[in-house]
Amino acid sequence: MADLGRAALVVSLGLTLYAFIGGTIGALQKRRRLSDSARNALVAAFGSTLVAAAVLAIALVHHDFSFVYVYSHTSKGLGTIYALSAFWGGQEGSLLLWLLVLSGYGALAAVLNRRLLRDLIDWVVPVIAGIASFFALILVAVASPFQTQVRALDGLGLTPSLQNPYMVAHPPMLYLGYVGLTVPFAFAAAAMLSGHTDERWIVATRRWTLAAWMFLGFGQLLGAHWAYVEVGWGGYYAWDPVENAALMPWLAATAFLHSVMVQERKGMLKVWNMILVALAFELAVFGDFLTRSGVIQSIHSFAQSSIGAWFLGFVVATTLFSVALILWRLPLLRARTKLESALSREATFLYNNLFLVALCLTVLWGVLFPVLSDLFLGQSRTMSRPYYDFFLRIFGLPLLLLMGIGPLIAWRRASVRSLLKTLRWPIGVSIVAGIGLIALGAGSSRPGLIAYTFSAFVLTTIVVELVRGTRATGSLFQLIGRNRRRYGGYVVHFAIVMLAIGIAGSSAYATVKEQKLLPGQSMTVAGHTVTYTRLERGRSGTANELRAVLTLSGREHGTLKSGVNNYFTGDTSKEVGIHTDWLRLEDTYVIFDQQEGKGVFFKVLVKPLVNMIWLAGFVFLGGSLVALWPDAREQRRLVARLALARG
């Protein structure tokens, strides 16, 4: 079986290299057959990678410990689902998943657009194939998942923290996002290589970008929930380098999704869009480098390995390629129109872009600082939470406000008079909300109060937009149907508001208390009384389990269990107890900190509105799906446009 996996990967490498070299020659010399053959090679590479992936999946499910990878990441006691999730639990498997998704995306994009965008596809194929060749080479020569050994009786097992349902879905979701950003990058590069820098590459990749962005965003929320229920420190986002690695390309892609609308409407920001699409792609690969290189300490990263240098080289090479392309095609990318007014929709998109990119670069600086300080100062200094929180407020709060102003301001130019008239409802509601919140005691946190007030502003904006639009068209469904991207976007804005409310509530207004309790003793936190009743000891197939049983009374009633798992492999994990009040969307979160004699040190956190964050994930998903739903009219326009151009 391992031989078949190895052979399939060698075939994939050969096919991607052929698609890269043959495709480049075909596109340069305009040889139709060679270009078509390169496209078919990319499709075939997906097929052979699928075979390799199937071999690894079968080995994992059957606990075939003659595979070093299966031995290192699973054990006999591991259920089928977790055994399968070990596919992305280790380095070699996750690289194979990357190649599988990349070749699949590439083949699909090439086949779907082969007739309408022939001149672009001829270049898209070699760009994607070049990137896929790199991953195939690593898998064949450096980090093969098909190394074998004398069959062992049992494996080393999967890291305990990965034995969680969220870890079954979170990594593949992120991979679909990371890898998906390759498609718009390849189309952008193809537009520059072919010299056809008109809007077709944007129309063709709009849904690819949206889908990648949706997967990356939803994947991060899944990861945040995993951290919340599994890691056991009471939070959901720690500004860890690997978490930031997913956030950075998402921020760059968010900026791109907005600025691309300006290019479509006004023919402006062509260079900026090329920079953004390249930045999003490079940050996705850089994230992979961070995860694999071991240069930065992270709870999520794989052990230090030799492939970090390969990834660094790849990031440098592709960055140089992108910069050279943009510089070469600068004359073609110059805008023919100018910004007419600083008070216009396109101007708000520009401000939004500046804040998003500033936040993205600030996070990047925070991630790189330990490496750079080690390199230049000889001591590794890390950027801690206050650094990130400060910049999140500085850039995030204006972004929230812009999310409310943008939809209500007209394209081209708006007068202050008409803007104030349009904004009178959102301004009025947010002032009333702010005063009400201060009266309710929310003034204890200024950033929290600002976030809530701005959230009220944005929510009112969305409602005003929907009401006015429905009045103008006569029907809400007709309104959404005529511009799904815009109204799907408003649903996403609603999700971001929910996220902001959840983050502000659970961080700015959280209550934390630590106390040692003996059985029968209680502590009161934010109106909740937590009573420690007894200690339970148990044993599962993989660990000895210690659980403190606690009862909750006061505003909410219930029973909680919080404790520690001591795995037979020597690992330990904290198992937190969470009670959710669905009416207030509030959690009472109990951490079993330390045992001392008959007593236990408990850390109890009451986190208001934290569940708004998880609900926001589903709203985000719904809005993204509305926005990326296929539009037959758009396809017809593309066909008609091409026919007209050909005369």
Partner: protein, 93 residues
Amino acid sequence: MTALIVGALIAVAAVVLVSLPFLRSSGDDVGSSTELQDRRLMLIDERDRTIAALKELEFDHRTGKIDDTDYRALVGPLRRAAAEVLQALDAEE
């Protein structure tokens, strides 16, 4: 043995798929776009943008984002631009 046979079949299938375009009887020339087609594409882009801007302006006016004074100041130049680009497209044909 089975693995070898399956591996060989994958390789053969890949070779067949990659070779298919060379077995076709149709010509090898992609037929690069002419300067005229490129200019037309540019004009079509411009036409689509202008018409979209006009539609957006009408919608913004109906939903109250733009008052009558601003609307009158913006709609004239946009209509002229649309007419100019349509004329240029007609001239190309």
